[in-house]
């Protein structure tokens, strides 16, 4: 085969595509908020969050973990159960996910006859073996498709590949809202499963998980662990090699959704007598007007950190001279 033919074949196979991965921070290297937390939501590795519903006992830590036993990877995202849920009741649910911005998914052509299939691949390691459920959830039209994977060996990295069907019915809006959830389910009560949505269908609670028999043991067993890295969602029916990305590129992608500015004090400019502004421009335009936080200020009682914000500037207004704020963050997550 000529070099030109080899190149054409490579491009045709999809293995030569740049930016083929629809997910961000897939190697779990960026953790602006911190490396360990006992809270739910976005707390450690950027873009990934933990969510639960109606639990009674479960306590956990989520950590950005150093990886030494998976060639080519340095980090993972680990969930560790520190207090076990005694049993999974019908209404109880635990999952982790990343939401993908809708305008970045238009190439999937959902809602048309040209809709594309996508393949999810990831490395997973858990102290628990068994079958777990996953799903893609499309919020604009409230549609869902689910699948499953099986962990065969405890505490061993395994690569999983799941190809999801195309959705020729539901339309992902072309905007900066949520387009898809990519979800890994760690425990689900009977209200959340029983309906195998192997093709796209309308979401109805009982198809969040599929119809299989899924283990909840990560949540019901103290000291159990579940961790992932090398997560990739790409167009096509074949999982290609993981697309490693340089740290700066990944960080910039993450900063569209969350920015932890450099630690320290930021001094403002006097606007008029007794009025100051501290303006900070995010490294990249953010997805939406962010919610900002700060740890200290010249005059905390009169600091306004909402009224003047935009996606391209965070602004702290204070009714004082020589104002400052400390350790700001800006959150425009989905």
């Amino acid at each position: 085969m000529s070099k030109a033919a080899e190149l054409a074949a490579l491009i045709g196979s999809g293995q030569a595509q740049e930016n083929k991965n629809l997910l961000i921070n897939s190697a779990m290297r960026v953790a602006q908020r911190g490396t360990s937390s006992t809270a739910a939501s976005y707390k450690t590795v950027d873009r990934f969050f933990y969510s639960s519903a109606n639990l009674d006992n479960h306590a956990f830590t989520q950590t950005q973990q150093a990886v030494t036993d998976l060639a080519g990877f340095t980090n993972s995202w680990r969930i560790t159960t520190t207090t076990a849920e005694s049993a999974i009741a019908a209404d109880e649910l635990v999952y982790v996910a990343q939401k993908i911005e809708a305008q970045n998914l238009q190439k999937l052509a959902y809602g048309t006859s040209s809709a594309k299939r996508v393949t999810l691949s990831f490395y997973v390691k858990s102290s628990v073996t068994g079958t777990f459920s996953t799903n893609l959830y499309q919020t604009d039209d409230s549609r869902i498709v689910n699948s499953e994977y099986t962990i065969s060996s405890a505490n061993t990295w395994e690569r999983k590949e799941i190809t999801y069907p195309a959705d020729q019915t539901g339309v992902i809006d072309n905007n900066n809202g949520t387009g898809l959830y990519v979800t890994w389910i760690l425990a689900s009560g009977s209200n959340w499963k029983g309906n195998a949505a192997t093709a796209w269908e309308v979401y109805s609670t009982n198809n969040w998980s599929g119809a299989g028999t899924y283990t909840d043991a990560v949540v019901t067993t103290i000291n159990s662990t579940w961790e992932i890295t090398g997560v990739q969602l790409e167009i096509g029916e074949v999982a290609t090699a993981f697309e490693h990305e340089d740290f700066g590129t990944t960080l910039a992608k993450c900063q569209r959704y969350f920015v932890k500015f450099a630690t320290g004090d930021y001094y403002g400019n006097n606007y008029s007598t007794g009025h100051s502004f501290t303006n900070i421009d995010p490294p990249v335009p953010m997805r939406a007007t962010p919610t900002t936080t700060y740890s200290d200020a010249r005059s905390t009682s009169t600091t306004d950190n909402t009224s003047f914000n935009s996606a391209t500037r965070v602004s702290f207004y204070q009714q004082s001279q020589s104002a400052y704020i400390s350790n700001p963050t800006a959150d425009a997550e989905l």
Binding site: A39, A40, S41, N176, G177, H275, R287, A288, T289, P290, T291, T292, T293, T302, D304, N305, T306, S307, F308, N309, Y317, Q319, D331, A332, E333, L334
Partner: protein, 60 residues
Amino acid sequence: MVISSAKYITHPLASPPRNGGVKATFDGVELNVPLDPANRHYAEILRQVDAGELTIADAD
């Protein structure tokens, strides 16, 4: 997200006066939220208001 309270914040310089954000407590953490429907915190406030689960108090 559990929102235990929500109250409008007056824009500090606007004339005539108008709201500039919402001070709300999310899962025990107080946040000042901009009035952008694409902001996830404000979107959740609006969802809970529409569902009848939350009322935003007027600004002082």
